[in-house]
């Protein structure tokens, strides 16, 4: 005999001690699927038969069962379960996790049970126990269905137990094998004419009966229609809509989930006591004019509708009022109720209608959810969900979404068929599609990136980033990218420098990158510029606004004018652009840092070293032997002058925006596209077209790393850049993105590094020790942050929900909290 059970369920074995439950379970299920009370007694009490431990044992068993059901794993409870109270707890657990409870009863004869127990020395509890179990079981048998078990299988003899096999059934809502393509249609509400218009618009061919009534529609190609419910009520021709949709469903041309109006119509047709409101009266009147067998057919059809469908391997979910991810593919009264009615806050609005809980704002699921129920003026994406009810019956539109194309198709209502109770606008506070949740960023997180696989953020990294992001960063809607950290080139072995271009060229050459571009390093602050046709933002590498208002807007408008002047809006077919840039001078942002640290050290050094030299000179003149110390101190004075000159190069007076320069060097993204597959020369040529006083160019040189002459030219170029204290250069693969290769390495100048490693770093004894620096962590961090940044850009370009973009941006900031040698 085959015992049919749903492919996701909680199997409750019921039988006396010795009835063969454990043997049965082992035969038909995986060891990990079986939760045995004996085993859990052993876990908590070191003795599988210690009945005094049963309470604790079941606590743990129930907890584990809950975790398994949460994860969607069929679970088998191996315990006697002969008492209704024990079973009630298990049914409650199944319901709480929205899976169906199933009972399999082993009604094994008493003598068999006793004989089995007699063979086991640990079961010496006597025949009365088995007898008591069997009495309880027999009393329970006919109530199991009523208790809530969706299926009850009773095996009445040993041969039935031996012959039983388990057969799995798909749940009614499981249409994962249906892969589409689909045309998903919103709430129709009796608007037959508009439905016919829409089907024609979608390329369906209407089939009419002798009386000219549409009874089916043949889809184009292999497409199928899918309705999100509320076919009926309010509109002029509910019977006509039902006739057409029933025909489509019966011929396999359409799927349909149940709406709350179908649910109520069924109850009304069955003569139940329902309030005839919200357009039900119209349906009942129209159906009254139809023949009895049509009414019966309509009633059967509506009654048989499933509350939600999971389609296309789990990537698409249809439910009339939407469905959170934890309910996808689950079955319980709660799931059905959510799918039909949605979630309400318990409050009512000024029109007396229930305030609906904006579940889609919190939706973070992987599947696309299409639904209706709440009329809105336009179908809009909210976190990969879309409400397709555009209020056709209220004079709005009837809307369909082509899946997987994500293309919206609408037809206008012929007229206002039914006056809405409240106007067809969404209240201000409900229109917050991009609400970010704490759970989007906090805790241990793993982000799947296209270019470097999984990147993990540890909880403590996220915790420190949360404060920075919440208190200092700009609005996440404008914070679409944070730049990655950049590693320096491998430490030079030359005696007089710490960094040298030859190592950068060699690194790329050995990684198989022939052409690299050297870009002048502006000693400024990294800036990300988001410019929209209206609005935008300029922020730092930790997401803070660069300038207080109105300066920020002023600078942004200069960038916008330049973009307009260069004709980039049309050329790139976009209304926003995201640039990676350097903002100068250094002191425009880092005033505090410069004063507190760099200038102060210069002042102290130049305050103390001249008197020290003077005192030593005086002592030497007296004949005291201080020669070596005097020499060292004089050298340190020269270093201090070099240091002061180095940092002062990067500071110049600014007033408002006067003196501020911006050097964009890469176009990161625009509507629908990213550009990390374009060579850097493309980017530099593009940004060179941005003209205006506020822009400054980035000098650059392309080097073939396999060509000695070009490498030598690259070294010379760097030497010229840095001789006067210039910061140095960044070397990047010319082609831009090269998988698993550093996106760029910096090669900093000898004088410049005084402000990083201290004035005296060039003293040979100091240099020798400073060469011992570990670059591995920084380089690994750079690659991970780069991958996260690109992931953010690609998600933005694809139009993904804000939380998907924000988790990447947040992760970059979180990784930056990792302690890394700040001088690298």
């Amino acid at each position: 005999m085959e015992l049919k059970i749903p492919d996701l369920c909680l199997v409750v074995l019921v039988g006396a001690s010795g009835s063969g439950k454990s043997t049965f379970a082992r035969k038909h299920f995986l060891p990990t699927q079986i939760l045995s009370s004996d085993y859990f007694r052993g876990l908590v009490a070191d003795d599988e038969n210690d009945q005094s431990a049963s309470g604790d044992a079941f606590d743990v068993l129930h907890y584990v069962a809950g975790k398994r059901l949460d994860a969607g794993r069929t679970t088998v409870i191996d315990a006697t379960n002969v008492q209704p109270g024990d079973r009630a707890q298990l049914i409650e657990i199944a319901r709480r996790h929205n899976v169906l409870p199933v009972a399999i009863v082993l009604d094994t004869p008493e003598e068999v049970c006793l004989a089995r127990n007699a063979r086991r020395p640990d079961r010496d509890f006597g025949a009365h126990v088995v007898r008591r179990h069997r009495t309880a079981l027999r009393k329970s048998l006919k109530f199991l269905g009523k208790e809530g078990f969706k299926k009850v299988h009773v095996l009445r003899s040993q041969s039935e137990v031996d012959d039983a096999t388990i057969g799995y059934e798909r749940l009614l809502n499981d249409l994962r094998h249906e892969t589409g393509p689909f045309d998903v249609i919103g709430d129709v509400h009796g608007c037959r004419a508009e439905l016919e218009d829409l089907l024609v618009e979608l390329g369906y061919e209407l089939v009419r009966d002798d009386e000219g009534r549409a009874v089916d529609a043949v889809p184009p190609g292999n497409r199928r229609a899918a309705f999100v419910g509320d076919l009926v009520d309010r509109g002029p021709d509910t019977p006509g809509v039902l006739r057409l949709v029933m025909g489509m469903v019966e011929s396999g041309h359409a799927f349909c989930v149940c709406g709350n109006h179908e649910q109520k119509l069924v109850r009304a047709l069955r003569g139940r006591n329902v309030q005839v409101k919200h357009g039900l009266a119209e349906s009942l009147a129209q159906l009254a004019a139809e023949p009895e067998d049509f009414r019966r057919r309509a009633e059967r059809f509506c009654d048989g509708l499933v509350a939600h469908y999971v389609l296309d391997g789990g990537d698409l979910v249809l439910a009339h009022a939407g469905l959170p991810e934890r309910y996808h593919g689950r079955a319980s009264a709660r799931v059905r109720s959510f799918a039909l009615y949605g979630d309400t806050t318990g409050e009512t609005d000024e029109y007396g209608l229930p305030v609906r809980y904006p579940w889609a704002n919190e939706y973070r699921g992987q599947a696309m959810v299409l639904y209706g129920h709440t009329p809105t003026p336009e179908a809009e994406w909210v976190n990969n969900t879309m409400c397709l009810d555009t209020g056709v019956v209220f004079g709005g539109k009837l809307t369909a979404l082509r899946y997987p194309e994500r293309e919206v198709v609408s037809v206008a209502a012929h007229k206002v068929w039914y006056e809405p109770v409240r106007p067809l606008v969404v209240p201000e506070v409900e229109r917050e599609p991009d609400v970010l949740a704490l759970t989007d960023v906090l805790g241990r997180r793993t982000i799947e990136t296209a270019h470097r696989g999984r990147v993990t953020v540890r909880p403590e990294q996220a915790a420190s980033a949360l404060e920075v992001m919440s208190r200092f960063a700009i609005d996440p809607h404008e914070l679409l990218y944070l730049p990655p950290t950049m590693a320096p080139t491998a430490t030079s072995r030359r005696p007089d420098v710490l960094e040298h271009p030859e190592d950068a060229f060699a690194e790329y050459r050995s990684a198989g990158v022939r052409e690299v571009i050297c870009e002048e390093k502006h000693m400024g602050s990294r800036a990300v510029v988001l410019v929209r046709r209206e609005g935008g933002a300029i922020h730092t590498r930790t997401g803070r606004a660069f300038f207080a208002e109105p300066l920020g807007s002023e600078l942004l408008s200069r960038v916008r004018d330049a973009v307009t002047g260069a004709g980039l809006w049309d050329e790139l077919d976009t209304d926003w652009l995201l640039f990676d840039a350097e903002l100068l001078p250094w002191n425009a942002k880092a005033t505090g840092l410069i004063k507190e640290q760099y200038a102060s050290v210069g002042a102290a050094a130049l305050g103390v070293l001249p008197p020290a030299v003077a005192a030593l000179t005086a002592a030497r003149d007296r004949g005291v032997d201080v020669g070596a110390l005097l020499e060292r101190t004089t050298s340190r004075l020269a270093n201090a002058h070099g240091y002061s000159a180095a940092y002062q190069r990067y500071c110049w007076p600014t007033s408002g925006l006067d003196g501020v320069r911006i050097a964009p060097f890469q176009l990161l993204a625009a509507a629908g596209r990213t550009f990390h597959d374009r060579p850097h020369t493309w980017h530099l040529d593009l940004v060179a077209r941005l003209t205006g006083d506020v822009f400054t160019q980035t000098r650059h040189l392309v080097v073939d790393t396999a060509d000695e002459a070009q490498v030598a030219a690259g070294i010379r170029w760097w030497e010229e850049l840095t001789a006067g204290g210039g910061e140095g250069m960044v070397v990047k693969p010319l082609a831009n993105l090269v998988p698993n290769v550093q996106p760029g390495v910096k090669v900093r100048g000898r004088e410049y590094l005084r402000i990083i490693y201290g004035p005296d770093y060039t003293e040979p004894a100091n240099l020798e020790r400073l060469r011992q620096r570990g670059l591995g962590k920084k380089r690994s961090l750079a690659l991970r942050e780069y991958a996260l940044g690109l992931e953010a850009l690609e998600r933005v370009a694809r139009g993904e929900p804000l939380w998907r973009v924000h988790e990447c941006v947040f992760a970059v900031l979180a990784l930056e909290s990792e302690p890394v040698d700040p001088r690298l």
């Binding site: 919440s470 002042a603 102290a604 030593l616 002592a619 032997d625």
Partner: protein, 450 residues
């Protein structure tokens, strides 16, 4: 780092005897903070100058074990501070103790001294040295063309016993500097008391000196102050009285007002959003009617402070069960804030940029949505009545804005309208007829509050 010390006591070369360092030799000593060089730029009958030059290894300073400095670009190798103190204490230890076998009497005699420190953080120098009998001359070192740096070329002149002069420097150089280069340990208290013997207990700024010398480690400070009191046979309260506040502070009035409102709202489950170090949580825990209290802050560090201040580790199980501390953010939706009767945002909104307030509104009034929300914020109109607050300056450096009463009402009325709450306003603190009270409170309620 350089220090020179000059005397015109004659014969001036006796300085060499007092310091146990021969005037015609240059000597080098390896100390824990670097190599200390002692030499005499001048040594004759009229005048004798000793120089202490400390050469610090900047790489070892950062890389050495137990180092707390993270930047190579650092004033430590140049400015007079704790490193110089260590060298001073090691090189001139005997002289500092006032012992001199060859010139015992001179060691016990005040002599004319001039001490020069070419780069010294000078903000407190006059305040600290003048009471000890020094004339202080400072020439600030410029930072750039426009500003002065925090260092000055400082010359101290006075007639002082050499050992006292060295003790003054030993204690006050790190105090002026404010940041010690090594972790302050308990034996620092002993060092301070030894070097401060005979002068520190009478110094008008002894608390400041103690606090800064011990790098603001509160338990150590208290212990040092108590022991100072013991040494000088005075009551510790007398020394500590500057720390007690004479009248009920605004912060206390704010907490009292909030507790009163929460009781009136009959709230038992209460959220403290932005709880910081837990000052309000403490007040809430004292009221048994608040049965479930959740303190939330965006800063994990603040929560640790709260945990310590509320002594969570020794709280009884019953008390402990009433309180939850959690990291969360008011700009992210957090469903764990649902199900509470009331939420308090005490002096929180002004720490957010105005364009993030809609996110806060959604988090508090949309997602958490308790029946009662209490919001306090400064009333900027009142600021002119704070004597110590410069005009136009906000009350806290992190305040992103401070609202007038009208501005606060405009925001709160908007929130209430959008979210279906009603709102009323109350003053907290002494009310000025024209400018209102220093703190303004908005009480938001939704639904049936009876």
């Amino acid at each position: 780092m350089l220090l020179t010390l000059t005397t015109t006591h004659q014969p001036a070369t006796d300085l060499g005897h007092l310091l146990h360092k021969h005037p015609d030799r240059a000597q080098s000593f390896s100390t824990s903070s670097g190599t200390a060089h002692v030499f005499y730029p001048r040594a004759d009958h009229e005048e004798c100058t000793v120089a202490l030059l400390l050469e610090v290894d900047p790489v070892a300073l950062v890389r050495g074990p137990g180092s707390t400095l993270t930047q190579y670009v650092n004033d430590r190798p140049y400015a007079a501070g704790s490193l110089l103190t260590v060298a001073l204490g090691s090189v001139f230890r005997t002289a500092m103790n006032g012992r001199s076998e060859s010139r015992a009497e001179l060691a016990d005699t005040p002599i004319p001294l001039k001490i020069n420190l070419p780069a010294l953080p000078h903000r407190l120098v006059e305040r600290l040295f003048t009471p000890l009998g020094w004339d202080v001359e400072t020439r600030p070192i410029p930072l750039d063309e426009h500003e002065e740096s925090r260092y000055a070329d400082v010359t101290l002149t006075g007639t002082v016993k050499l050992s006292d002069a060295l003790k003054h420097l030993y204690v006050l150089l790190p105090v002026l500097d404010g940041s010690k280069h090594y972790w302050v340990a308990a034996d620092e208290v002993d060092k301070l008391l030894r070097a401060g013997e005979g002068w520190l207990a009478q110094h008008p700024d002894r608390e400041l000196i103690t606090t800064r010398y011990l790098a603001r480690k509160r338990p150590l400070v208290v212990s040092a102050l108590a022991r100072l009191a013991e040494v000088d046979e005075v009551e510790p309260e007398e020394l500590d009285n500057a720390l007690t506040e004479p009248k009920i502070s605004l912060a206390v009035q704010r907490r009292d007002a909030l507790v009163k409102q929460l009781k009136e709202a009959r709230a038992s489950k209460v959220l403290d959003l932005g709880c910081g170090g837990g000052a309000l949580l403490k007040a809430l825990l004292e009221q048994p009617e608040f049965t479930e209290i959740q303190g939330v802050d965006v800063s994990a560090q603040a929560l640790q402070v709260a945990e310590r201040k509320l002594r969570l580790d020794r709280m009884s199980d019953r008390q402990r069960e009433r309180l939850t501390l959690r990291q969360s953010s008011l700009t992210y939706a957090d469903p764990a804030l649902q199900g509470y009767d009331a939420a308090v945002l005490m002096e929180v909104v002004e720490h957010l940029d105005p364009d993030r307030l809609p996110a806060l509104e959604n988090c508090v009034f949309g997602v958490a949505r308790p029946r009662t929300v209490l919001v306090t914020t400064p009333n900027v109109e009142y600021n002119v009545l704070f004597e110590t607050l410069p005009e136009g300056q906000m009350r806290h450096s992190d305040h992103r804005f401070e609202w007038t009463r009208a501005e606060f009402r405009a925001w709160a009325d908007g929130v209430a309208g959008r979210r279906g709450y009603t709102v009323r306003y109350l003053p907290i603190g002494p009310e000025d007829a024209e400018r209102g009270a220093p703190t303004q409170l908005a009480v938001f309620t939704v639904g049936d509050t009876n």
